[in-house]
Structures are given as C-alpha cells and as structure tokens.
C-alpha cells in the first residue's frame, strides 16, 4: 500500500468537496479497493469514506411500489431489510462471505461494475434508477463494458431505486475459486414486461438478453426459451469456462430463474 490521507465526512456535500482534490477517491466498503491498494495497483492520495454519511444508508419503502437503497448500504443490510423485494435480498445475502457482506456496499459494487458481480444484474434486470449527487441514471444507460460506468469523475452514487416486480429470481452459478458469478441471471416480471439481465458471461459486461425477454413476454414459462440460444462469440473464455459453456449456462440459469420465480 502507498501512503494516503483518509477522511470520513458526515454529509454528501462534505464528501464531494473532499473528492474534488487531486487523486481523491471514494471508499465504500473497501472490499474491492483495499485489496487493490494492498497490491499497489492504485495510488490515490486521499480516500473519502462514505460510511459515515447517514443519508447514504439504509433501505426505504418509497410507497410507490419501489424500494430505495442508500448508496453506502451494505450487502448485509440489504439482505436483512429488503424483504419487500425477496430476489434482491436473496442476491445480496449471497454475495461473498459474511465479512464481505458486512463491509461491501451497493454503491461500491455498481461503481466498480465487475463483469462477474451480482448487483449489476439486479439493477439492469429490475430497470432500476441510479441516483447520484447530481442526476438520475437509468440502468440501461449506466453500465459501460467491463469495469466501466457512465459515472463522472468524483460522482457519488447516493441511492438506487428498484421497482418491485411481480416475480423475480436471481440464479448464480458460482465461479469455483472466487465464488463470484461464473454466470448469473436475474429475471424479473413486471406488469409491463419481463427483464432478463446476465452477468459473468459477456466480454461486454452485464447485458440484457432481449430475445429471452421477448419470448417470456409472450409466455412466462421455461418452454418459451426452447428455441433460443446465446451465441458464444462474445462470451468470456477463461480458466473456469469456455465461451460455449458460458453461453449454455446463460440459458440454464435463465430457465432456473424462471422456475424459481414462477
């Protein structure tokens, strides 16, 4: 680790001003950033912890059929308090291990956009809205390839709004070593349509499987997928799975998500 300054502001405004100096970086739960620092792969001059900001914490029922989750809410808090959206609470409750869940945050996970992370699938699969200190970003406009997002430098995720679906499920096939998603599929059924979001699989990061969505809009049953297949070309190939395997798993996990949601 290189030397850095550490500040822990109590308001978003103070956090933003702390972040406005050179090479300052937001610190969520540190579950991605701290290991990166330990390996000397990043050298921020200042870490701005978001964990002391009350307005970024917690799960709230917006009263309009949606849940709001503060940008610095831990996975454990979501698992415990997002019971109104069971598939989301279940997803949060299966990220990493208890230590990771007690520290890691939704904002950190989304800002990092690891191609194998779980939350991006929930956000995209729910058509959630990501609020930052200066704007609202639709899920479809937020993720930008591997580890990329449309966040600006110094922009903080303050909350995420999840419309609660009629039925949903997240099915994660574990990468054996990291236990991130080798392939994870989030299926959510709303009154105005079904959304299917896939993480872990694509070289372009989390994506919507629109053919499956169209088929499921006609009938929300696994049979709807029978003739569908994902092309392997853009799938990730690595130690843990070939492109063909990942393409195959996308379909299997989608099927299982539909079964679990039905």
């Amino acid at each position: 680790m290189y030397e850095f300054d550490f500040v822990k502001p109590g308001t978003v405004a103070d956090a933003l001003s702390a972040l406005s100096t050179e090479d300052a970086q937001a610190l969520g739960g540190g579950q991605t950033l701290i290991p990166t620092l330990k390996q000397r792969l990043a050298a921020p001059l200042k870490l701005v912890s978001l964990s002391g900001i009350a307005e970024l914490q917690g799960v709230t029922d917006n009263g309009d059929g949606s849940l709001g989750i503060g940008g610095a809410t831990t996975h454990a808090a979501v698992a415990a308090n997002a019971g109104a959206y069971p598939a989301l609470a279940d997803l949060a409750g299966h990220i990493g291990d208890p230590a990771v869940r007690n520290r890691g945050t939704i904002g950190g996970s989304l800002a990092n956009n690891d191609p194998a992370a779980c939350y991006p699938a929930a956000v995209l699969g729910s058509g959630a809205t990501i609020s930052t200190n200066n704007r609202d970003i639709a899920a479809d406009d937020f993720f930008d390839g591997l580890f990329g997002t449309t966040l600006e430098e110094g922009e903080i995720i303050t909350s995420v709004r999840f419309p609660v679906p009629q039925a949903a499920s997240y099915q994660k096939f574990l990468q054996p070593a990291s236990r991130f998603a080798l392939v994870g599929v989030f299926v959510a059924k709303y009154a105005d349509g079904v959304r299917v979001a896939v993480t872990g699989a694509s070289e372009d990061g989390v994506f919507r499987w629109t053919e499956a969505e169209e088929a499921l809009n006609k009938e929300f049953r696994t049979d709807a997928l029978i003739d569908l297949n994902i092309a392997p070309q853009n799938m990730i190939a690595d130690l843990h799975g070939t492109k063909e395997y990942r393409a195959h798993l996308v379909k299997v996990m989608t099927k299982r998500a539909i079964e679990a949601a039905s």
């Binding site: 680790m1 096939f173 054996p176 070593a177 080798l182 130690l239 843990h240 799975g241 063909e244 395997y245």
Partner: protein
C-alpha cells in the same frame, strides 16, 4: 474401553490451545530489536536476460539500508538438488546452478533478481519499485510437452536441453515388459495429466536472520519443515557458514504440505543482509509471492498402459511420463518423480512386469517439488485410473478386478515388480471394510433417487499403497540420495521427574506435541502431561531430517522409542542401586521399579530425582543424570494401504460435481492417537478432493501464472466436501519399526483423486456418455464439455 492416555488414546491436541487462542508463535510474530526489512524485486516475465540493473534511484529512497543483486552472490554456492539421478544412458542429471538471486537471466515469473533492505517493510517495497532493471524478454518455455519438442527454447542455455534426466525404472526390465505387452491379449491405454497444484499453506513463508558480530554466530528463524536440513544446505552448499555458527529455528509453522521442506534463496539473502548490516533482517512473503515462488506440486503428463489376460489377470504396467520440474531444481524435485513415484508403480498388485520411463523437464515456471503425497499420488492416480478403465473394457467389476490381482496376506514380504519389498498388508481385508462402510448394496437405490431428481450418480473406488518413513539410508544412498534419512531423539528426564523430548522431526499441524508424549508416557507408565516435545530448533536437538513423506512417527517416533528404552535401562541401574539389588532383579511396570519377589519398589519420579542428587552413587559404576539420545535408521519404507469409495452426483445440465459420500478404509499399522489419525485423513481427503475437482496451477503460453490468486485458484472449502467416513480397524503392523506404525499424513491425498474421477466417469456412463477420462480438476466446464463432445 478406549484408553484415556498413552498409545491408542485420543488425547486432545494440546498444541491447539495456543493455536486457537492466538498464542502461537510464528516466524512473523518474532520481532528483534533493531530489525530491518527485506523486499524483493521479482521478474514479471517468465524468461529474459538481465541486461542491467540500476539501483541508484532505489538507494536514495527513504530508509534504504542496502541493496543486493545477483552480482553479490556470484561467489557463493547454488541451492542443490538432494538426490542424484542418472539417465538411462548413464549420463548424470543436468544440474544448472540455482543462485540466491537470479544472475544473467530470470527464469520464471517471480524469480527474484534484487532485494532491498530498509527500515520498514513499506520503505523496502517503495524502493524495490525504483530499481531499474533492463530485462529483455525471451519466448517462454511454459508448457511441459512443448519444452521437449524440437526447436523449443531453452530454460538453461548452458545445458543445451530442457531435459534434466531421462530415467528408466527398472531399466533392465524394459525389454521384458515391452515383450509382455506386445504378446498380451488385452492392453488398456490412458493419457492423463496430473494437474499442477499450488500448496497454499495458510502461513506464507517468512525468514528472520540475526547476526552476532561478537561471536560470529547467526540465528535464522524460518518457516521450515526441517530446520536441520536448511542449516545443512545453507552452511555446506550455499553460504559456507560453519554449521556450529548457525542456529536454525522453525517455530510454529502454519502448514507446509511439502512447500516448506526446501531451502529457498530468501533465507540466504536475509542471512547475508543481517551480517552486512549487523542488524536483524526480516522478510515475510505476501500471498502473491507465495503463489509465484513456493515450490508447486505434481504436474505430470503421462501415458500409461495396462496389459492383461482376458480374465483380468494383470501382466504389465508401462508408463511414459514428463514431469515438470520448473525453472530450477528444488531440493527434492529429482527424488519425487523418480524414487517416490516409479517405485510405487506396481500398486497393490502381483503384476509381474513394470516399466516406468520418466523425463524431468525444465520450464519457465516456479520450481515443482514434493507436495503432500509426493510422487505416490501421481503413481496411484495413473494406476487406479487405468485399472478402472480396464475393468470397464473387460466388463469386470472394478472391485473384483482389483481383488483378483491383489497381493494376498500370505505373500509378505512381497517384492513388487517395481522393486520395493512390501513388509505387510491385507488389501482384501481393507477392501472388505470399505465395502461395508460404503453400503454398496444400497447404491442402486441411491442412484435411482438421484435420477428421479434429474441428477447422475456415480460410484468410484480405488485401492492404493504408498511408501512412507523415508527411508533406509543405505537404500537411499545406493539410489542417489545425497543425505542420510534417519532421525534422532533425545529424552531428557529432569530432576523433578518431568521430561523434555527433543526430536528432529517438526510439527506444523500434525499434532506431534500430543502424540509423541503419548509414546513416552506409555513406555514409562507416567502421565503424558509430564512430557513436553521440543522440536524446530537446531541448538536444542541433536539432528534431524524433518517432517515429510509421513515419516515422523515411523522414523522420529522410533528414535524416541529407542532413546526411551535407553532411559529405562539407565533408570533400572539407578533403581537397583537404590534398592540394593542387582539390575537383573528389577521389574519396571506402570511407572514403578520393583524387586522381583519382594514388596520393594521405587517410583519413576524417585529414580529421576536420585539421578540428579547422586549423593551415594558408586562413581565408577553409575553415572549421574538421566538423559539419552538415539538415532534411528529404518530398515525399510513403511507401506500404508487403503481402499476408498466415493459417490458423486453430477448435474447433467451444468456439469457440476458434488461429492455425496466418501468412505476411506486405511491400514496405517498401529495407531498412537486415533483422533489425530482421523484428522490427518480428513485433511488429506480435502486436499485430494481439491485436486480432483478444484485446484489448478495454470500458466499461459507466456509463462504468466493465470491462477495466481484465490480469485482464480480454487481451494476446497467446507461446503465442497462431504462428511467423511474413515476407518482403520483392519490393520497390519509394520514389521520393522518398534511401534509397528506406518504413517498416515498423506494417505488421504494419495487415495482420493482417482476415487473421485472414477466416480464421475461412472456417473457420466450411467447417463449414456462414453467419456473414458476427464483431466483434473474436473471443473463444471470440463465435465460439461466432456459430456457434450
């Protein structure tokens, strides 16, 4: 009634109290006054020439005390291989120098070419980044098979080949084996890979050196499984320090699995730095360094053939193997794939012909050496996989085929076709136990139940034999070992009756501190809590060859027995003097010396006290004191054996394997502490199952370690493993060591990999697949791909 102390008692592991309460004392816990810190500059290319190293900017960094490069160690020796191997054509193995720091060339990612000593660890690391090394990258020789192909680049230019040796075992049997296979009515062939493993001890390697300019003495605290061997290597081969000027202390060590047997360059570096600076110097590996530089395990590419009669009678095993030894020869790297592998290639079987050809191959990867099981897992895997394949081809039940060819109890001592003399065993008896545990007759119902849920269920078995208790020095010496392989013990009875037992074997998780006192307590008839084990300090222990190859109780324990026998003999003399009788009239039983036919008796404690308060000893006849040392050199290896059964479920949609049942029946001979033995088997099974399903050290074509962190190297976790059923009730005591013990530390890791693979292949077959083999680790992707190709 189970015993509650002494041999056979499940005494609770006394060392666990300190481990579990955070009171362990590991190398990195030790901090000496004035201590400085070392950090290493390591190659990020697999192969390259070092054109220049400019340390001037680094030297200017805050806190920097000294910088070393390979240039500083040109005059000192290389880290040697401990076993000499001769090729089939009589030429000696190739032994390129393994320097303290790379010089001229870097040969694997992680190869250290410079080191910085600074006031703090962070300063040392900061300065390492300022070292400017011009290294011209060369094409990497990363793949074992490619390394021996025509036109392959060279890892060591000066030896003009990547083949370290081309060994035949037994070369004189080659022609007969070839002829037998040619004439055989059935030959089964299998190509397989024994996957490379990264040991991943929980505690990374660490070394702390101290130098006393006044006495010219060094102390090295280091993570070692055998501090005496480290001392010998550092003194006699690398640094030229007189052996009596170096104390090596291996305090608590958090797991080794083989990787901490060896001497590594970092140990020599901190010693040199401590002397130069006259300050203690510490280095502790981070996890990345562990992945890149600890000696890895396995990594064989093998073709094996099994020739049989049509009724399944084995005629011959023949193997051809490429064993990756990495970029440099680690200390046991030449012995492991040869004498710990080829000699086991007859398995538990009366097969008349065996021939093993093994080429050791240099590659631009981390050194490969003994890892839990060391050679025997590779032998067992090859044999037990091909026996299974053969059974299927011949339509014979796999257990029946094994039984048909087993060495039978009345055949011992049995000289195997691979040249070892098995002293004892009962393979059918152990198989009977396993079949009972595994509830074979219930399998069909369990399979039907799995199938009803859409899962495939398979049952796999194996039988293994291994060789432990390394080794008779005369045999090892004749075969090329450069060290003797005895061990030693001193039993020191103090005046107040408590006892210190100093042993040359080292405990780093095995439970010696509990089990060894049980042996002494049994022999002396005293409370085992009066006895403490001392290990891991060359200044306190006569000598030792350390812990590996499941040798501690078989060799070190035998030395303890011999030393304790001497104690009893001496104590009898003292007791005879105390009771004014002759030594021949003294009986020793339950901790008391008595005079036969009288009611006279003195307790062991009284004798101990007398030994040190000898007011009335006849000086010419009786020496004061009660301390004895014994060296024990075994007469043979010990031969544990076993039979395992594994049931798996395979999800045909995803290829995911889950282990549903695992039964292990082992013959470990006599057992000192059943609970510890069960624990050793559990741990071994976890590692074997890890190898079968999860673990894989993978280099890409550029020699970069792709599975270089826990994000990609899959260690087995609790939920990957079943509840094991283990049993060692069918046992045949070792015939040649005083405890009749065989060793249990590695068996689980040796017997389990083929068992798991056999089970998975059986499951796939039940689903209509004709897959005959899947290389380990059988990841979901590999299983699915095999099912669908």
């Amino acid at each position: 009634m189970p015993k509650d102390s002494g041999i056979g008692a499940s005494s609770k592991r006394r060392e666990d109290v300190r481990f579990l309460t955070g009171n362990g004392n590991y190398t990195d816990d030790i901090n000496l006054h004035g201590q400085a810190h070392a950090a290493f500059a390591r190659s990020n290319v697999a192969n390259g020439t070092i054109d220049s190293i400019d340390v001037s900017a680094a030297a200017e960094m805050p806190g920097v005390l000294a910088i070393f490069t390979g240039e500083d160690f040109v005059e000192v020796g290389g880290n040697p291989a401990g076993w000499y191997i001769e090729s089939r054509d009589g030429t000696p193995m190739k032994e390129p120098k393994r320097p303290v720091l790379a010089h001229g060339k870097v040969r694997h990612v992680g190869d250290a070419y410079a080191a910085v000593i600074a006031e703090t660890n962070a300063q040392a690391r900061d300065a390492v980044e300022k070292i400017e090394a011009q290294i011209t990258e060369l094409p990497a020789v990363a793949n074992t098979v490619a390394a021996v192909a025509d036109g392959a680049g060279l890892v060591h230019d000066e030896i003009e080949t990547n083949i370290c040796f081309d060994w035949g075992w037994i070369e004189d049997n080659r022609a007969a084996t070839d002829a037998a296979i040619k004439a055989a009515p059935h030959v089964t062939t299998l190509e397989l890979v024994n996957n490379r493993l990264v040991p991943n001890a929980l505690e990374p390697r660490a070394s702390l050196a101290d130098y006393n300019a006044g006495s010219d003495e060094y102390t090295l605290y280091t993570t070692s499984q055998n501090p005496h061997l480290t001392r010998l290597l550092v003194c006699a081969f690398v640094m030229g320090i007189p052996e009596n000027k170096l104390t090596v202390i291996a305090p608590d060590v958090g797991g080794g699995f083989g990787s901490k047997i060896y001497h590594y360059g970092e140990e020599a570096l901190v010693l040199a730095a401590a002397k130069k600076l006259c300050r203690p110097v510490k280095w502790t590996a981070d996890r990345t360094e562990s992945f890149l530089t600890d000696a890895h395990g396995r990594d064989h590419v093998t073709t094996i053939e099994l020739a049989t009669e049509t009724d399944g009678t084995f005629i011959a095993f023949r193997t051809s193997t490429l064993a990756n030894v990495g970029a440099y020869l680690s200390n046991f790297s030449t012995a492991t794939p040869t004498y710990l592998h080829g000699t086991l290639m007859a398995g538990n079987y009366t097969v008349p012909h065996v021939y093993v050809n093994l080429k050791a191959v240099f590659t631009n990867t981390a050194p490969v050496d003994a890892y839990r099981g060391a050679g025997r897992p590779e032998a067992t895997f090859s044999i037990e996989r091909i026996v299974d394949k053969c059974a299927h081809e011949l339509g014979i039940d796999p257990i029946a085929l094994r039984r048909k060819n087993f060495v039978k109890p009345d055949q011992y001592p049995f000289t195997s076709a691979a040249g070892l003399e098995y002293d004892s065993g009962n393979y059918d008896g152990v198989m009977d136990v396993m079949e009972g545990m595994a509830d074979m007759s219930g399998f069909a119902a369990r399979r039907a139940e799995s199938e009803a849920r859409g899962m495939l269920r398979g049952l796999g078995v194996n039988s293994y034999i291994e060789a432990c208790g390394l080794a008779p020095s005369n045999l090892a010496g004749a075969l090329g070992a450069r060290v003797g392989l005895y061990d030693s013990a001193t039993v020191r009875v103090n005046a107040t009756g408590n006892i210190s037992v100093m042993v040359g074997v080292h405990s780093h998780g095995q439970g010696h501190e509990t089990a060894f006192p049980q042996v002494v307590a049994e022999m002396l008839g005293i409370d085992e809590n009066l006895i403490d084990l001392v290990h891991g300090d060359t200044s306190k222990i006569p000598f030792g060859m350390g812990t590996y190859g499941s040798r501690s109780i078989a060799v070190g324990g035998a030395a303890v027995v011999r030393a304790t026998e001497k104690i009893i003999n001496k104590a009898k003399k003292i007791a005879a003097h105390m009771m004014e009788t002759s030594e021949a009239d003294i009986d020793f039983k339950d901790g008391a010396f008595s005079v036969a036919g009288t009611d006279k008796s003195v307790a062991f404690g009284e004798v101990a006290f007398k030994a040190y308060v000898p007011h009335d000893f006849p000086h010419e006849e009786l020496e004061p004191g009660l301390e004895e040392t014994a060296f024990y050199d075994p007469a043979n290896f010990t031969y544990p054996s076993g039979a395992y059964a594994c049931e798996v479920e395979v999800d045909p949609e995803t290829g995911k394997v889950s282990i549903e049942r695992f039964c292990a029946a082992d013959d470990f001979g006599n057992i000192i502490n059943p609970m510890i033995v069960d624990g050793q088997v559990h741990g071994g099974l976890a590692q074997g199952i890890g190898q079968a399903l999860l673990e894989h050290g993978v280099y890409d074509d550029n020699g970069q370690l792709l599975s270089g962190s826990f994000m990609d190297y899959a260690m087995p976790r609790a939920d990957d493993l079943p509840f094991y059923a283990v049993d060692n009730s069918c046992y045949t005591p070792c015939t040649h060591n005083p405890l009749g013990v065989k060793g249990c530390g590695e068996a689980g890791a040796i017997g389990s990999p083929p068992t798991v693979v056999n089970a998975v292949i059986d499951a796939l077959r039940s689903g209509g697949s004709n897959v005959t083999h899947i290389d380990m680790p059988m990841s979901p992707s590999r299983v699915w791909t095999a099912m669908n190709s």
